[in-house]
Every structure is written in structure tokens, then in C-alpha cells.
């Protein structure tokens, strides 16, 4: 299980970084989502193996650490807001520049 989790996190990171480096802005946005999910999984695994049952429900020895779960919850909300903002930016960019290629979006260069 440990190996599986580690592999899943690693693959998500690799896929996210690969996609974020693509020229297509939509693929880059997908890469952003993959990256933030990889980080969430990493945070979650920080407290995953110390116990199985929820806090306040079982004997003290088996309670899992609730803090990483709370952190992940906060991070999910923040990344969702950020992703919505990125999509709205992409909408404006695509109507203004008529392209999905980030190399064509170069108004600031001049």
C-alpha cells in the first residue's frame, strides 16, 4: 500500500509537470489540477498510517491524525477557487487572442 501510494503521487506529479509545460493553455490548466491533486495526496499520506479510525470515535491508540485531512480539505477549496479563476482567464484570453497556443499570447513582449 505504501509503495502504491508513493507511485500514485509520483505519477500524478510527473503527469502534472509534463502537462503544465505544454504550449496548449487548456492542457496547462489540466496540469495545474493534476499538480494540486498530487500535493493533496502527499499531504494526506503525511498522516495516513498512524491509525485507521476517525477522531473522537475509538480508543486513543487507533485514532488517525485528523490534521492532514483538515489541511487537504482547505487546500482543495483553495485550488478549486484558483482553477475557476484560471478557466475564466482562459475564456478571456481565447476570445481576445483567438488561440489556445500560449506562444501566441505575447502582447507583453512588445
Amino acid at each position: 500500500m505504501n509503495l502504491l501510494t508513493a507511485l500514485a503521487i509520483g505519477i500524478l506529479f510527473a503527469a502534472g509537470i509534463y502537462q503544465i509545460l505544454r504550449r496548449n493553455v487548456i492542457r496547462a490548466a489540466i496540469g495545474l489540477v493534476l499538480l494540486s491533486n498530487a500535493v493533496n495526496l502527499f499531504l494526506f499520506s503525511a498522516g495516513a498510517y498512524n491509525g485507521q479510525s476517525a477522531a473522537y470515535s475509538a480508543a486513543a491508540a487507533q485514532i488517525s491524525d485528523p490534521l492532514p485531512q483538515a489541511l487537504v480539505l482547505t487546500a482543495i477549496v483553495i485550488s478549486m477557487g484558483g482553477f475557476a479563476f484560471v478557466l475564466s482567464l482562459l475564456y478571456v484570453i481565447s476570445t481576445r487572442y483567438k488561440t489556445s497556443d500560449s506562444d501566441e499570447v505575447k502582447g507583453l513582449k512588445n
Binding site: 499538480l35 499531504l43 483553495i78 484570453i93 502582447g107 507583453l108
Partner: protein, 491 residues
């Protein structure tokens, strides 16, 4: 009483977000309310500073009454109060500028709520005692700053916001990875508790990895060389009052985090300090020459921020009490001066024939505005470090601390590079105020009250530098021993 003094500087702008949003149909009341809340918050920050100074102890609250290592702690220690005071002075000036601004963006119903969200994020980031809480406030700053730039009058605002948002989301990824790594190694996120545990087990698993990831995140946030490439675009495309905040305050969140990292969390890691000196020196060189080579006043000032952040990082990297005090004085003075200069550049751009800060457009515009010229010259002198302006005090202290720490090679490089500041400031002054331009006509533009106030403050802090220097030295002495901070939070 002290509890309220700590809560109100943060709570007032935060409560102002929904309040001003509800008043979106009544623009005049909305903008005056935003300014009123900000000024009240500034007043309470002065009260907070007084409380911290008289007791020589940080004021702190445990949110939800969970005791220190478990709950979220809000703390006003000397460093936090110092940075909050700086940001609230400049934020108030930014709202005063927005009142008299001719840009369309200040008429947007969401402009003032977003500005107050930026203020709340900055205040919260400086006053929190919890690493994850710092991440949340940094995200509030990123999102409100990016949205404010995306709605700018500048046609390229969206592009700049896109660029910034991507790079700072990457910074957030690094930040979260760093937080996770430190949590795995030490099982806590409270800064004081984390510092105590790192000191007792410096080789716990993933501690160094966590430090490296946090360093990467904060180098991006403070736009230090070589992570600066988005910064000139972003700061030049933002609306004038917002770009003044971004260039003077938002980059200081990264600087603040480096103060905390080198003095509280990782005081034993020499490598981090060396890295900061190297990055800072590179930034001073690159930012200086970058500023000399641009064709846009706002862009020039954004590059200059890169150089000035370099000076501050060098001071933090040297890490002696005098160097830390110098870095603090530099941080404070740079915030005032850079905000004033960007506001003046924006005010001149608003008086040009086409609304742009490019040199070809603003050349000669200043002919009819000698008062703005006097302010720009004073601000430029402060930027270059000429007495009797406050910039002289900050550069003097940095050089003095370098001599004291016997760091002659970096000192020589930044000394030579700082002469470049003088050339680009004077060149831009001559182009805007002395070159003839038949197209330039007398035209009403943004009001000059806010930059005048900031320049006056710079002049005051140059002539009467004693209070700021004493406060910085006191703060640096506090930073010198992390045991004070740990004992005050975990008592």
C-alpha cells in the same frame, strides 16, 4: 484590550470585504468606507505596536481557545507588528490614491472589496503564528492581486494575471509540499513549536527537503533573481494603485518569510543564508541593469524592486543583528518610496495623450506639473540613496553592516550596482520633465495627494530617522534569540 488590538487590524479590512460588496451600487460610500476601515485598522496597529513596545512581549491569541501547539495562533511579535505597520500605511495611501484616480478600474463594483481582501491577506500573513495559516493568507493575496490585475485598464492585464497566477500556483505547490515535509518530520505546524522541535532534532526526516521547498516557494513570492521573470510584466500591467501595493508590499511577504526562516525555523543552516546573499547580489546587478534598459517608467520601477529586494536579501543573509536591522529599515523605506514612485509614474501616465507609462508617450508630460516633478525627484533620490531622504539611511545601514560583517566582495558588487540606480532615476526624470514634447498639454489626471504623503513620510524618516532605526534595532535584537518567541507562544 490587547486581544482586540491584535484582532482589529486584520478584522476591519476582512469585514470590509462583504460590507463594501453589499454597497456596490453606491460607489462614493463604498470607497470612503474602504478608506475609513483601513485608516481605523492603521490606528489600531499603532495601538498594537505600543502594547508590544511597553510589555516587550508579543500579543497573541489562541483561536477557538485551543492551546498553542494544537490550535491556530495569531501573534503580534515585534517583526509581525513592524511589517503590519508598514503595509497598512502603504495600503491606506493606496486607497487614498484610488479615490482620486481617473482609471476605469476603480469604478468596478468589486474593486474595493478585492483591495480590502488584499489588505486582510497581507495583515493576516504578517500576524499569523501558524505555517499553514500563512499559506492560506498568501493564497488570498495571490488571488486578489491576480483578479485586480486581470480587470486593469491595460489591455495586457489579463495576460499578466495569467502569467502571475500560474507561477504563483507553482509556488503554492512548493509551499504545500514544504509544509507536508515539515509535518512528517516534526508533527506540528505552529511556528514556535516547529522551531523548538527543529532545534532539538535538526536531522529528522525531510527537514532539509522541507526547507528547500519553502525556500523555492518564497523566492518565487519575493520575485528574487532568478524567479523574477513574471514580476516586471505583472507590476507594470496592474492598475496604478494596485501595482504600487504589489511592488512595495506583496513581494515583502516572501521577505518576511525569509526573516522567519533564517532567525526562527532554521537559524543553524548556514547554507540558506549563503544562498540568500548570492541570490540577492545577483538580483541587485540584474535588477539595476534591467531597470536601466527598459522603455516604460512602471517597468523600470518594477525592475528596481528586483534590485531593492536583492539588497534586503543580502542583509538577511548576513544575519548579524546590525544587518537584520538594516534589512528591516530597508524593507520599510522601500515600501514607502516604491509605492510613491509607482503612483507618480501612474499619475504622469494618466496625464499623457495616450494612457501609457511608456517613455515615448510620457516624454515631456511633466512640463505643466512641476509639483509632481519635485515629488518624483525626491522619490528618485530616496531610491538611489541620497541624503536627506530615507533611502540614504537604509543604504548606509546595509553598507555599514557589510563592513562590520567583513563581507567585502558582495559589498563591493552591490555598492557599484547601486550607482546604476542613480543613472536610471535621473534619466527618467529628465525625459519626463525636461525633454520638449509638442503633444503634451495640460490635462487633469490622478490626484497627487497619496504620493505626496508618502514622499513627505520618506523625507521625514530621512531627516528624523531615529525612531525607525531604534525600532528596527529592537526588532533585530528580538529576532536574534528564537527562544524568546518560542517561550512567549508556548508558555
Amino acid at each position: 484590550m490587547n486581544t482586540w488590538l491584535l484582532l482589529l487590524p486584520f478584522l476591519l479590512p476582512f469585514a470590509g470585504v462583504p460590507l463594501t460588496l453589499a454597497l456596490r451600487k453606491r460607489r462614493k460610500i463604498q470607497s470612503v468606507l474602504a478608506l475609513g476601515l483601513m485608516l481605523a485598522a492603521l490606528g489600531f496597529t499603532f495601538g498594537l505596536l505600543r502594547a508590544v513596545l511597553t510589555t516587550a512581549q508579543p500579543v497573541s491569541i489562541q483561536m477557538g481557545l485551543w492551546q498553542a501547539p494544537f490550535g491556530i495562533t495569531l501573534t503580534a511579535d515585534p517583526l509581525g507588528v513592524f511589517m503590519t505597520l508598514m503595509s497598512q500605511i502603504v495600503l491606506s495611501a493606496g486607497l487614498i490614491y484610488s479615490l482620486g484616480s481617473t482609471e476605469k478600474v476603480v469604478q468596478y463594483p468589486t474593486y474595493h472589496p478585492l483591495f480590502l481582501a488584499l489588505a486582510a491577506g497581507l495583515t493576516g500573513a504578517f500576524l499569523t503564528g501558524d505555517l499553514f495559516n500563512l499559506f492560506v493568507f498568501a493564497e488570498i493575496i495571490v488571488i486578489s492581486g491576480a483578479v485586480l490585475t486581470a480587470i486593469a485598464d491595460d489591455a495586457y492585464g489579463v495576460e499578466a494575471a495569467y502569467k502571475y497566477f500560474y507561477i504563483s500556483t507553482l509556488a503554492s505547490v512548493f509551499f504545500l509540499l514544504g509544509i507536508g515535509s515539515l509535518y512528517i518530520g516534526h508533527g506540528t505546524l505552529n511556528l514556535a513549536d516547529l522551531a523548538a522541535r527543529i532545534a532539538s532534532a535538526p536531522s529528522a526526516p525531510l527537514t532539509m527537503a522541507g526547507m528547500a521547498l519553502l525556500t523555492a516557494a518564497f523566492l518565487i513570492k519575493s520575485a528574487a533573481f532568478p524567479f523574477h521573470f513574471w514580476q516586471p510584466d505583472f507590476h507594470a500591467a496592474a492598475p496604478t494603485p494596485v501595482s504600487a501595493m504589489l511592488s512595495s508590499l506583496v513581494v515583502k511577504v516572501g521577505v518576511y518569510a525569509f526573516f522567519r526562516m533564517t532567525t526562527l525555523l532554521f537559524p543553524h543552516v548556514q547554507l540558506l543564508k549563503t544562498l540568500l546573499v548570492v541570490v540577492g547580489v545577483a538580483g541587485v546587478i540584474y535588477g539595476g541593469f534591467g531597470a536601466a534598459g527598459t522603455h516604460n517608467v512602471k517597468r523600470m520601477l518594477a525592475y528596481s524592486t528586483l534590485a531593492q529586494i536583492g539588497f534586503i536579501l543580502v542583509g538577511i543573509g548576513w544575519g548579524t543583528p546590525l544587518a537584520l536591522a538594516a534589512a528591516l529599515v530597508f524593507t520599510f523605506n522601500h515600501a514607502l518610496v516604491k509605492a510613491a514612485m509607482l503612483m507618480l509614474a501612474g499619475a504622469m501616465a494618466s496625464r499623457a495623450a495616450v494612457k501609457s507609462a511608456s517613455f515615448e508617450v510620457v516624454v515631456g508630460v511633466g512640463k505643466h506639473h512641476p509639483f509632481a516633478g519635485a515629488l518624483f525627484l525626491l522619490g528618485g533620490m530616496a531610491l538611489a540613496g541620497i541624503p536627506p531622504l530615507n533611502g540614504f539611511i537604509s543604504k548606509l545601514m546595509i553598507f555599514w553592516s557589510g563592513v562590520e560583517a567583513a563581507q567585502y566582495i558582495p559589498l563591493l558588487i552591490i555598492g557599484v550596482a547601486s550607482i546604476v540606480t542613480l543613472t536610471y532615476v535621473i534619466r527618467s526624470f529628465i525625459r519626463i520633465w525636461f525633454e520638449p514634447n509638442p503633444k503634451a498639454k495640460e490635462k487633469a489626471g490622478d490626484r497627487l495627494l497619496a504620493p505626496a504623503l508618502l514622499v513627505f513620510l520618506s523625507l521625514l524618516l530621512g531627516v528624523w530617522a531615529e525612531p525607525l532605526v531604534a525600532l528596527s534595532q529592537w526588532t533585530a535584537a528580538w529576532l536574534g534569540d528564537p527562544a524568546f518567541y518560542i517561550a512567549a507562544i508556548l508558555r
